[in-house]
Amino acid sequence: MSRICKKKPAVCTDEPLSNSNICQKMALLRNILSTAYGPTGRLKQIHNNVGGHVLTTSTSTALLKRVDMSEPLLKMISTAVQHHTACYSDCGLFMGIFTLRLIENTQNNGLRTAAAAKVYKHLVEECNMYLKGDSCGCKVPVDFSNSDSLIALARSMIASKPACMLNSRETKHISSLIAQAFLYSIHCNSSGVSCFGRTVTIGIEGQSVSDSSVFPGLLVDVPEMLQHADLERLESGLFKVVLFSVSLSGDISEVGDVTLEIHRGVDPERDLLQQLLKLGEQVVMDKVNLFACQKVVHPILQHYLRKHGVVVIERLGLALMEPFVQLTVPVEAYGMVKEFCLQSCGSRELLQLLPSKDAAVSTMVLCHRNETMLEELKMTCKRAEHVLRLTLREPYALLGGGCTETLLATHITHMNCSKASTIAQALCISHSEFIMAVKAFCSSLQSVALSLEHDGQDCLIDLTYAHRWVPDIYSKTCSCGLVEDRSNLEKTPLKTAYHTFSPVSLENTDSQPRILDSFSAKLNALNVAVEMANFVLDVKYIIKDIN
């Protein structure tokens, strides 16, 4: 008989944000995130005491997925960051740091949460308006007529992932590959609603990064029994392709786990094989050149097909099915491929299939020295390509290197200080509450810009354009590379007191920003971060069920 366990009463925490234990944990998470931020961010190694895999990373996705939070509030923030990166692939760390800073600053200033929430909401709407507006100084249009801005966008993204362990030459190489793959994935004759093509990524371990490259079409493992002679025998021209997603192994698999009762004189396996061979005959009769299957093909069928000069590719795997269909563009039953050839990528030999029509399928072969770095590189490239795709929806990029944050903070401070009393009245809060909340918001933005620096150097802001600067004798430009230094440009350390001013937007300049951030990703991160901070600040009571 089962015993009825008495339920324990739930553990309640009143005013969780004034609990020092929770605040400490929050500060720890903020510290982990902000030390990993940016190109010089410190790597984090995650391992389990019991043993097993050790992961080295600095990306928010990898980090937060594996770090288990005990505190429900932190868990919420972590989930929100992961959901953001799942949609936008970038700016996860930005969002995490900004959320936590905003919560911290609100607490430190002793702001009433309902008042703070109203002001933050107002400010983030103002940010949205500014960033989406035409007069925005921290946004540059993405120019699709040349690849510079696309490459710059990809490069900034890769450069901010130090765990990829790339030097500057390799970074350049990979970012141009990403831009290339992105361009391959867009259909040339985009008429009406078109969807993106596919980029398949193959990783090769133990090879130098410079061996990485992008190929049009699809690269698959060379079938074991394929000889060069077989390929040479094929004449050039279009090749007929047939693709199966069902297993052709001849097993009676659909029935499942049941007892089979078979009549005398009936051999189901033989029946099935005969059926398969009938299929083979049909294929040969229809002059098919390439026979591909997602799963296993019966060896006798394979042998039969090869005897008739048909190239057989089996065990393609589910991941390659959709790109394969896109590549061959099947009409009725058969698809077409323009060319087969063997490509050697580093140590591996692969069979390249080139599309007959304009199909936007390409394969990116990434090489790296070891598995961990390769994993990080593959992940980063995938995300970078996604970020490039986002530019098609909103063809803008934001200035990177912390300049957007400083500029935005300056703009917001300037806009709101002059009209403080009217806005405060409209929001039904006191004037001082409003001023304090604006300050908390802007200083949180600046903190994100400060988090880019890990070597103890000062971060400066100029008092004309409000860009971020690092004192460096070699560099003549601001962090993003848009503003050039001159002797009369007044600068002051970030987060010190300076008068409010409206940032001057740069006009008629030839210089191009070197570092760009994704516009869509950062905009969403900013919005979600403020919403999260509001949510967390709103929590007045925690009930923990410990049954």
């Binding site: 008495k6 339920k7 324990k8 009463p9 739930a10 309640c12 429900p72 509030l73 868990k75 919420m76 989930t79 929100a80 959901h83 953001h84 799942a86 949609c87 009433r112 949460t113 309902a114 929430a117 109203k118 909401k121 997603s245 069902v246 659909e254 029935v255 499942g256 049941v258 007892t259 089979l260 009762e261 078979i262 009549h263 004189g265 009936v266 189901p268 029946d271 099935l272 059926q275 009725e332 039953a333 409209a426 039904c428 969403n524 919005n527 979600v528 403020v530 919403e531 999260m532 509001n534 949510f535 709103d538 929590v539 007045k540 009571y541 925690i542 009930i543 923990k544 069920d545 049954n547």
Partner: protein, 587 residues
């Protein structure tokens, strides 16, 4: 004697403990409660009932209170937090008056008081609400009708949600919910629309994580949270087949001991059976197949070749809903198949996921709710659902009064079934069904109860009136001066109103609600819901006060949800129970 005192004290402390949890969530300035389980589930809510349910209440009194709260919430969909606050305030009021009288409350006198309070709820409360508050509300609304006309729905919704989500989310949510209501209703019968949305809400919304709430929207058609397995863009309206079983299933799994007998030419037989089935589909000119289960690969291929769109693994309840609303034609031969006409089929992309969207001939719309993380999404969904529960209560109570009016005056033949959206909301406005939020109802009731001249029980009225003020007081707990300001201003208004009523002169500007929220238009709440709240609280109080002792038994009680048995518990603030004095005085 001592036992009875303990009983009142126990009530005060138990209800006080509950009040303590929910009072932080009251009103727009309140906060929310985060609830977690060891399983990793998290829930963020301001919803009084949900908070209470998650507490695992042990004290029998507390659970009795919870039962009352739930019963009330079920009826009105609103007011659980106010319920507890008011109950606690009433109990404290009784205790205080007891202190002043130096212990003259005996069990019979407490019971007597409870009965008298209940009587107040039946007579005086009813009187005040019908003859004083409703006319006031009606006058108030007509006075401001130029501001309120047309947006009364918006205002009621924002009155409801402002206490349930954070300030920053309330605006966005209100906008999208109003849009949803208007798009679904399309000037049809308003009452029916509301109850339709209320009862089918789970099919009419889709939730998306990773986006800010501001991205929430209303999409035309019915969104199904899975993508088309086979997709061909159909032109215009199409015939769709609804399936609940696999096409390829040649036998149904009955149990574990199944044996399959393979005979000669079985391959041909199964193949031809499937061919026959598929051919019959083409005869029906079906272009879309909606299936609640996964279909075999051969069916998918068939669909591709014949330009049929195929959607698999749809929730079968959703399919039922679809076939219900679009008058499906049930096929006679294979059971469980329905034919429906769809206006169009689309693919929609929501935060990186592709979903199917089905257009029905009835103007169906789907509410897409976004939130950064699942815990919040839950809150948003719950609030949105609650909005329609509240609206349903509001509209139905209006219809009831309308029906009773009609029965009194048979000359008007306005039937309830032709109530359009405008009629309904305008009617509610004119009938004084709503009042501005923020304590107006409590102030009014307080005022009228105290000044009720022909009351037969002034003491109970005074008790209730004093307790009512605790609600606005908590609402403005962060700014006590504001509370006093508002109260004074309100009393001034009321005096002026009385004066003009006597002189029958021009109405003065009733500034109350307007200066009050300091934005141009105040949010609204339902008067009948508020009245129900007071009645429910008094009923609950009656039940509480009539309990003389609690008996702890060790055998399970099976009589019903109202009886409570509890083994000895170790709650912090509770006094130990008396175990043998049987004095159950519940009459």
């Amino acid at each position: 004697m001592q036992e009875e005192c303990v009983s009142l004290q126990v009530c005060v402390s138990v209800v006080g403990a509950l009040e303590c949890v929910v009072r932080r969530c009251l009103g727009p300035d309140g906060g929310s409660v985060l609830f977690t389980r060891d399983t990793g589930e998290t829930l963020i809510t301001r919803h009084g009932q949900r908070v209470l349910r998650t507490l695992h209440l042990q004290h029998p009194m507390a659970r009795m209170v919870l039962d009352c709260v739930c019963a009330h919430a079920k009826a009105t969909g609103d007011g659980t937090k106010s319920f507890l606050l008011l109950l606690a305030a009433l109990l404290r009021g009784i205790q205080d008056s007891h202190m002043q009288r130096k212990g003259s409350w005996s069990i019979p006198s407490l019971q007597n008081l409870a009965n008298r309070l209940l009587a107040v709820s039946r007579k005086e409360l009813e009187d005040v609400v019908t003859h004083k508050i409703t006319p006031y509300a009606s006058l108030y609304c007509s006075h401001h009708s130029y501001k309120l006309e047309g947006i009364i729905l918006d205002l009621s919704i924002s009155g409801y949600i402002s206490g349930r989500v954070g300030i920053s989310q309330a605006d966005v949510l209100k906008r999208v919910l109003c849009e949803f209501y208007h798009k679904v209703s399309q000037d049809q019968n308003a009452v029916e629309t509301i109850s339709f949305i209320h009862s089918h809400f789970s099919f009419l919304h889709t939730s998306v994580t990773g986006l800010p709430i501001g991205c929430s929207e209303v999409i035309e058609g019915l969104v199904v949270t899975c993508d088309w397995s086979v997709w061909t863009e159909p032109a215009g309206s199409v015939k769709a087949l609804i399936l609940y079983e696999s096409f390829g299933a040649s036998f149904v799994t009955v149990g574990e001991n199944i044996s399959v007998c393979i005979q000669k030419d079985y391959l041909h037989r199964t193949e031809s059976a499937m061919k026959q089935k598929l051919a019959s589909l083409l005869d029906l000119q079906v272009h879309v197949v909606l299936s609640s289960v996964k279909q075999p690969e051969s069916v998918l291929q068939w669909a591709r070749l014949n330009h049929v769109s195929l959607l698999e693994c749809v929730d079968s309840a959703q399919l039922d809903f679809l076939s219900n609303i679009s008058a499906a034609e049930t096929l006679s031969h294979p059971p469980l198949q329905h034919l429906v006409m769809l206006k169009y089929c689309r693919r929609v992309q929501l935060s990186g996921h592709r979903y199917a969207c089905l257009g029905t001939f009835l103007h169906m719309h789907t509410l897409v709710l976004c939130a950064p993380a699942p815990g919040f999404l839950d809150q948003i969904v719950c609030v949105s659902q609650g909005v329609f529960a509240m609206l349903q209560h509001l509209s139905q109570s209006f219809c009831q009064t309308l029906a009773s009016d009609q029965s009194q005056s048979p000359s008007s033949d306005q039937s309830q079934s032709v109530l359009s959206s405008q009629d309904l909301w305008g009617g509610i406005l004119r009938a004084g069904g709503v009042l501005p939020v923020g304590g107006m109802f409590e102030f009014l009731l307080h005022h009228f109860l105290l000044n009720e001249r022909n009351s037969c029980d002034p003491e109970s009225c005074r008790l209730l009136a004093e307790a009512l003020l605790c609600l606005p007081r908590t609402l403005y707990s962060h700014n006590h001066r504001r509370f006093l300001n508002i109260q004074t201003r309100f009393l001034d208004d009321l005096k002026q109103w009385d004066k003009t009523k006597e002189q029958r002169s021009e109405m003065p500007e009733l500034k109350f609600g307007f200066g009050f929220s300091e934005s141009s238009v105040p949010c609204l709440e339902s008067v009948s819901g508020k009245k129900q709240l007071v009645v429910s609280v008094l009923q609950c109080l009656h039940r509480l006060l009539c309990v003389g002792a609690i008996l702890n038994t060790r055998c399970p009680l099976r009589t019903g949800p109202q009886t409570h048995s509890e083994e000895d518990e170790d709650e912090e603030e509770e006094k130990p129970k008396h175990s043998n004095s049987t004095q159950s005085t519940d009459l």
